[in-house]
Symmetry: C2
Subunit: 336 residues, 2 copies
C-alpha cells in the first residue's frame, strides 16, 4: 500500500534520542529517557495543572524559522497557559514529527532550544516521543504544572464590577506576523529596523509570565493567556464567567513599535487587538485586590494595565476614545 | 510567504471542540474544555507516571484505517506504557493535527473512538489541542497515571537469575501488518479468513494489560511493553538493567494464527519476534515471586508465559529448539 506503514529496517530513533535529548533530560524522573514513562512526584498539598498545545510548520510558525525559535515558541505557548492558571511548571513531555528533509543540524538546534528553555523556566524535559512524518514539522508539548490545592485561577471566576487587566503590551506578536506576511503595508513601511525587529521577535518568542503566578493566585478572580487575540479571548472569559465587560481602546497598552505602526495605518489596530500570539496574561481583579496585585506585579517585574471593567449582563463592548462602541470584523484568530 | 502561517479569518476550532469532544470530557478537571488547562488531583501517597506517544498516518497506521481504530490505537499504545509501569490511568491529554481532506464524519468517528476508550479504560479526556496540518493525520496523546509512591516498575530493575515472562501471544500485530503489506506471502496464503482477521485486528487494536498492574507492582523487578519487537525490547531492558539473558524460541507463546503462518513460512518467525506492535508486557520476575505473580495474573485474566531467564553478563541470546543461538537481521523495529 503506497501510504502504508513502512516495514523497512531502521534503528536510529534510540540513538537520536540519546544523542540530542538525553543530555537535556537531567531530571531524575526522566530516567535518562531509557524507560517507557517518566516518574514525577507532586508536591504535597498541590494539584496538577495540565495543558497541551501543538504547533505545525506553516500554521503556527514559518517552516524556515530558526529551529531554536520554533522550540522556544512550542515551550512558551504551553508555559504561558500554566502561568495564566497560577501554576508553577513541574516539567514537560515533548513529541515531535520530523519531515524527511529536516537536517541533523536543524534537529540539534531544535534540541538546543528545548534545552535552554527547560533550564530558563525550570521546566525539565521528562519524556516524549520522536516520529517521522511525510508532512510538515509538527511539535506537541504537554506542560505539567502544580498549584496549591484549590488555587488554580480559572477562566470562569470573574464577577461584575471587577477590573480587567493585561500584562505587558498587546498586539506585538500579531503585528510581527502581519509584518512578515505583508511587509509593504503602509503601517510597516515607516518602521525603523529596531521596531520591526521588536515585533518579529514578539511573534517568534513569547514570554510566559511565570513571575506573576503568585499574584494571580492570590488576587485574580479569573485569568487566561491571550493567544487568539485580546478581544476574542476576553469575550470567551466573560462568557464562561457569565458576566459582561467594557474596555477602552485608549487604555490598551501598545509598545512604541505597535503604536508607530497603528498611528500610520489605523487599520492595524484591529490586527493588534484581534490577531493573537500575545501570550500576555488577561486577568480580572476585584477592586479591593487591585492595589496588592499591582504591588506584587511590580515586584515581579511585570507591567500590568487596567483596560476596563466587568459588569452585569453579557458581551464585551470595546469603546473608542469618544466612548462609542467599536466592532471588529473578526473577534479572534482561530486555526479552524 | 508561500508556506507561512495563514492570517485568514477562521473561527471553527472552538465549535469543533465543543461539538465533538466536550461531551467526552466529562471529568470535572477537564472544566468542559473551556479553560486553558485541566486540573487534576493526584491520589495521596501516589506518584505520577507520564508517557507520550505520537502516531502519524502512513507511519504508525494506514491512512485509510477506520478513524475509530486509529483513535483506539493512539489511546492504547499510551495506556500500554502505563500498564507496563504498574500505573493506573488518571487521564489523557489529546492533540491532533487534521489534514484538509479529513471529513467531518471521520472526525466524529475519531472522537467516538477516543470517547469509548476513555470509558473502557477509565482514562478520562482532560484536555488538549486541535490544529490543522498540510500533512498526514497526526495524533499525540499524553497519558497520566499514578502509582503508590516508590512502586513504579522500571525497565532497569532486573537482576540475574530471574524469570523472563511475556503476557498473551507475541507477533500477532507484526504479522497483521506484514499481512496487509504483503498478503501474497506464502505464510499468509493458507490462512483462514478468521486467522487473517485475528492478526489484522491485533495490529489495529492493542490491548493494554491494565488488569496486570498490581501483579507487576508487587512481583516484577522490571517491565516494559513490547512495542518495537520482543527481541529488541528485551535487549534494551537487559542492557539498562546491566544483566544478560537467554530465551528459548520454543517457549515464546504464539497464537494459533501466528503458529499457522510461521509453520508454512518459517521466515515469518523473525517478523513475529522482531516486528513489534505487540503491546504485551515483558517482565522480569524473581523466582520466588513467580508463583504469586502467576496466580495474580490468572486471577486478572491475563495469560503469562516464562520464556527464559536473566543471567550475569550482558546481551540477549535467543536459543532455537536444539539450544543453538539464533541471530536476527534486525533486533527491533524503529521508526528511524
Amino acid at each position: 500500500m503506497a501510504d502504508g506503514p513502512s516495514a523497512v529496517i531502521e534503528s536510529g530513533e534510540d540513538s537520536l534520542i540519546a544523542r540530542l535529548f538525553a543530555p537535556i533530560a537531567t531530571h531524575p524522573g526522566a530516567l535518562g529517557l531509557t524507560d517507557d514513562a517518566a516518574l514525577l512526584a507532586v508536591p504535597p498539598g498541590h494539584e496538577l495543572v495540565l495543558t497541551k498545545d501543538a504547533l505545525v510548520a506553516g500554521v503556527h510558525f514559518f517552516a524556515d524559522d530558526p529551529p531554536e525559535s520554533i522550540a522556544r515558541k512550542a515551550m512558551r505557548v504551553n508555559l504561558s497557559d500554566l502561568a495564566a492558571k497560577g501554576a508553577r511548571p513541574l516539567g514537560v513531555m515533548l513529541a515531535f514529527a520530523i519531515p524527511a528533509d529536516m537536517s541533523g543540524e536543524a534537529l540539534e538546534a531544535f534540541a538546543r532550544g528545548i534545552g535552554s528553555d527547560c533550564s530558563l523556566y525550570d521546566a525539565p524535559l521528562l519524556g516524549g516521543d520522536t516520529v517521522r512524518t511525510s508532512g510538515p514539522f509538527t511539535i506537541s508539548i504537554t506542560a505539567i504544572g502544580a498549584v496549591p490545592a484549590g488555587q488554580m485561577v480559572r477562566r470562569a471566576g470573574a464577577a461584575a464590577g471587577q477590573a480587567i487587566v493585561v500584562t505587558g503590551t498587546i498586539g506585538d506578536g500579531a503585528l510581527g506576523l502581519a509584518l512578515r506576511l505583508s511587509p509593504d503595508r503602509p503601517g510597516f513601511a515607516g518602521l525603523g529596523a529596531d521596531e520591526a525587529s521588536v515585533l518579529k521577535d514578539r511573534y517568534l518568542h513569547p514570554r510566559p509570565r511565570l513571575p506573576l503566578i503568585r499574584a494571580l493566585r492570590e488576587h485574580a478572580s479569573a485569568a487566561m493567556d491571550v493567544s487568539d487575540g485580546l478581544v476574542g479571548d476576553l469575550g470567551k472569559l466573560l462568557h464562561v464567567s457569565g458576566v459582561g465587560g467594557d474596555i477602552e481602546i485608549t487604555r490598551i497598552p501598545l509598545s512604541p513599535a505597535a503604536r508607530h505602526a497603528v498611528d500610520v495605518e489605523p487599520a492595524l489596530l484591529e490586527v493588534a487587538l484581534t490577531g493573537g500570539d500575545d501570550y500576555e496574561i488577561l486577568a480580572v481583579i476585584p477592586q479591593h485586590e487591585l492595589g496588592r496585585f499591582n504591588t506584587q506585579a511590580t515586584a515581579a517585574g511585570v507591567g500590568v494595565t487596567v483596560i476596563g471593567h466587568t459588569r452585569d449582563g453579557t458581551g464585551l463592548t470595546v469603546h473608542d476614545a469618544s466612548g462609542a462602541a467599536v466592532s471588529f470584523a473578526r473577534g479572534s484568530f482561530s486555526h479552524f
